[in-house]
Point group: C2
């Protein structure tokens, strides 16, 4: 790319995650002159990968599932093969005291009364979720009431057994990477509704964890960036957006500036709020970004010479009420070159262990895996982790969380453009909020919005 | 001040609000070479004033009251006279339907059952508040439980009457400038405890609104800045803090940099989170600033040729369940040059009216004042307002709000220094959090911390 100091383009996109890249991809296909400014030295945002022993291992978002049509379509367009998450054999469930039992199907064997309690609460949650307007959650029938309470309060009030509450809270941590106290009930319901249902969001088969991408989900971003070529600039953190009736000037850290008719800011809301806007953004938009904090995750990928658990009749899928890992799954690629277990430390656990030395985290994670899958699990070929809260250009995962009150007080500012400034990112999606598919949808929607005005 | 490009000082203070200025004042008095970098073209932070017809009118924080020892001491040191808020005569209370009744003393006449309900809830709140550890709210006896729920849920569960709930919710809006749904119960309790009690926080006589400063609270900041002279730099927004074992380099918008052994960041947490730190701040500190959003206030100051309500036997103090103003008070100075009514639009009301034209807000406010104090109130000499959420270098008032989960998950990061970076601002105070007095205390505490290490 030419390195003029005041390059002009039609549209600047801030952030080369899947939202920004999808947006630029669509715009570019329509003949729009687009430039993507990425702060990091890599593309992919909340997807990333490393190669271990010739095998690509995802360090960020990786699963896709039915209903995520845009993710499947993009994978097909880019020639990234899809394969099913391995689930053959017996799953494991670890209770509070560390007792491990096998199970098949969707439901672990963790005490009958707790499970019944959980199932009733789940049904009630699904019914409530169907009352949420995904386009405008603040307009849902009982919006004020649903948004006035945390998910923790709802769990305490709805479930009767301590075991059921622990189960529901663990599910919440898995889905949102936060404590149930941090989340508005309305947001939890919206999120489930945007994914179809809570069950879809939680499930492997038939749900959001059904499939994996051969070569990694990060390959989607890499291939999109390849197609965009020099329209993607790395290592250019956007620090200031000056805007008015005649367009925008986007200034990056080095002082270099880009002029455009419009800008699409495709980074998490909390990071969008850290850019300097001139003139300052309206109070409603700024107030929104003050409130949408990210979940806390440390993703732990453990690579073995082979998926040894399969030979023992185990699926590699495990749920644990004891932790620190609440869930583990097999994400080995079809190549058969090695075995990979994926797991994530979430919410309070991620915060606590995130402050400890890496060696301690590794040892805690491997110890739990050994208890679940046998002593062989304690000796991997590689242990790779990524604390997404420590990444300055992400600052948490999986997605932004709406605390109580935020949707009803600030929701309308989430997607509304401010003059020539448009907003994208998985948080602006009305379907699959927080997922890879939502990111792609949001980028495509922003591309349509900026070209239709 | 000399304008070297790489000026070196002992301590850089970010923000010339009362926290930053108090810090610099103490440091300077101890012979420490200090430089205060202020983004705006004025000092004072959340205090500010204008002069109308020779009279100083406060557009930000203005009241002080018993227990705020540092505020009184500073006013005395700086020669700013204190005078009692005018409360002689009859107060007014407007109910939901706009019916207005007079009252004397603390308690409005708004339906006996509602008041009884409110009084019982208040007593219960005070008892709970006494269980909170103000130094470390996350260590309070029932911290997890108190922090898992919004104040809205507690109000709904604790109060029995619709009238009582409305009354408590209105009190909450007055104190925290947000909807009760946005606030963690633990935070509300902590705040009250840090002020002594809920009753102290709410009261005029014997409480946080007891006294005013002749010449305005903003005069404290102006006089501190006068004493500091060229140690205060205006129009230098701090954009980057590079730090390490040998100190800090603070870079301002123009590119100018200042070296120091330590830096005290004395701005609201959400704004502190928008500075670029190199290396990036730990996840715990960043996660905190992602969560602490500011309350929403539009302060409306209405100036009349004289305090005409006094002649009618009215105190100028009014409470309203109907709104849009929830409370009005007399803040005329002892000079007798004019009459001033102070009022604030808060929370949802501020958000709604903040998006409307200024003329509409003016007319809505004056209409309500006319209903309360008679038609004369509709024709002021001046109407001056300040939307603190729209100010890029404040972004809300009165203070940062902890949503559910934030104190227990991120509380320890609020005051903990990160290497040579210290934090000040009213939000870091353990007494009078969110008040002028808390700001002064926090600045003085930071000054002690940076000199004792």
């Amino acid at each position: 790319m030419t390195n003029q100091r005041y390059r002009s383009v039609d549209v600047v996109v801030v952030g080369a995650g899947l939202a920004g890249l999808s947006c630029a991809h669509v715009l570019s296909g329509r003949g729009v002159d687009v430039l993507v400014c990425e702060a990091r030295d890599r593309v992919g945002g909340r997807t990333d990968s490393v190669v271990v022993d010739g095998e690509t291992v995802d360090l960020g978002g990786q699963f896709i599932g039915p209903g995520q049509d845009r993710a499947y379509a993009l994978a097909e367009e880019l020639g990234v093969p899809v394969f099913p998450t391995y689930t053959s054999g017996v799953h494991l469930a670890e209770d509070d005291s560390g007792r491990i039992r096998g199970f098949r199907g969707r439901v672990p064997r963790l005490g009958g009364l707790s499970l019944l309690d959980f199932a009733q609460a789940e049904a009630r949650f699904e019914r409530l979720a169907r009352t949420v307007d995904v386009e405008a959650p603040w307009r849902s029938r009982q919006a004020e009431w649903l948004d006035s309470q945390s998910l923790a309060v709802w769990i305490r009030r709805t479930l009767r057994t301590a075991g059921g509450r622990r189960l529901f809270s663990t599910a919440a941590r898995l889905l949102w990477a936060c404590e149930p106290s941090e989340l508005s009930l309305l947001h939890a319901l919206f999120y489930a509704r945007a994914a179809g249902s809570l069950r879809t969001a939680m499930a492997i088969e038939g749900g959001a964890q059904q499939d994996l991408l051969d070569g990694g989900a990060h390959a989607l971003a890499v291939r999109l960036a390849d197609r965009l070529g020099d329209r993607v600039r790395l290592r250019v953190p956007v620090r200031r957006i000056t805007y008015g009736g005649d367009g925008v000037v986007v200034a990056v850290e080095s002082g270099e500036t880009f002029r455009a008719a419009r800008v699409v800011v495709a980074v998490p809301p909390t990071l969008a709020g850290r850019i300097v806007y001139d003139p300052p953004l309206p109070a409603a938009r700024d107030g929104l970004t003050q409130r949408l904090a990210m979940g806390a995750t440390i993703k732990c990928m453990v690579v073995y010479p082979e998926p040894f658990w399969r030979a023992a009749g185990l699926s590699g899928y495990a749920l644990s009420l004891r932790g620190p890992l609440a869930a583990v799954a097999d994400s080995s690629s079809p190549s058969g070159r090695c075995g990979v277990l994926v797991s994530v430390l979430e919410g309070a656990t991620a915060r606590r262990l995130g402050g400890r030395p890496a060696a301690e985290r590794r040892s805690v994670v491997l110890e739990q895996l050994a208890q679940l899958f046998g002593p062989g699990a304690a000796h991997p070929a590689a242990y790779i982790e990524r604390d997404w809260s420590a990444e300055p250009y992400t600052r948490g995962a999986y997605a932004a969380l709406f605390p109580p009150g935020a949707w009803t007080q600030y929701g309308p500012a989430l997607r509304a453009p401010v003059g020539p400034i448009h907003w994208a990112g998985s948080e602006t999606a009305t379907r699959w909020y927080g997922y890879i598919d939502g990111a792609i949808r949001s980028g495509e929607a922003a591309a349509t919005a900026v070209t239709s005005m």
